[in-house]
Amino acid sequence: MDLAVTIASWAALVAGGFFYLVGAIGLNRMPDFFTRMHAASVSETLGAGLLVTGMLLQAGPTLVAVKLVIILLVLLVTGSVATHALARAALHDGELPLLADADGKLAATSPDSLFPGLGARLAAPLRSETVEQPEADPSKP
């Protein structure tokens, strides 16, 4: 039993390290920002998840395991939120993804060609910008 847990932990740690490395290599090798973001998400979900799983198997049912689960949950939630915000900010800033045209050539293309109207929606102000300012309270000095 102990040996099985050790072997499983070993496998998870080595696999986690492998996927972490794969994500980091992709971060350098991918051709444009959005594909780089995809590569980074590999190391942030699969790599980090497997590494934490390996450490969980080593820790056993202790307080250390609870802390590891907290770290994993925070990583998963913040990774998704930060990736979404980053992609939104990049598209809003006019960063165009590389898309293949009819001949298979890669070119920076407006996302409108895939999702009609997306460019206009991204350029429109966010809801938080258009919200009405509350009327000044006359009773306040």
Partner: protein, 94 residues
């Protein structure tokens, strides 16, 4: 086995630093900064296990929370050109 994982994370950190320095756009640099933050947390946790001192995990949790706040703050800065609420000054004047 922790040595192998630590080595992988360290090499990944070097590659992420490379992207942060070379990144053509500011978003590439932000993505790399986010990856460096995640790598730091995992490195802290793995190092704690390697040396048999899992107290390092507390520092890892702190880094995770700081990482989230930092990324969102920088993104908000680039989106709005500032970190304060829009219209805050007018409220105070009016």
């Amino acid at each position: 086995m922790f040595e192998i994982a630590i080595l992988a994370v360290l090499v990944s950190l070097v590659l992420a630093v490379w992207r942060a320095l070379a990144g053509p756009t500011v978003f590439d640099r932000l993505l790399a900064a986010n990856a460096i933050g995640t790598g730091t947390i995992l490195l802290l946790a793995l190092f704690g296990f390697l040396t048999g001192r899992p107290e390092f995990l507390d520092i890892g949790i702190l880094y995770a929370l700081l990482n989230m706040i930092g990324t969102l703050a920088v993104l908000k800065f680039f989106r709005y050109g500032g970190l304060g609420h829009r219209g805050e000054d007018e409220e105070h004047v009016g």
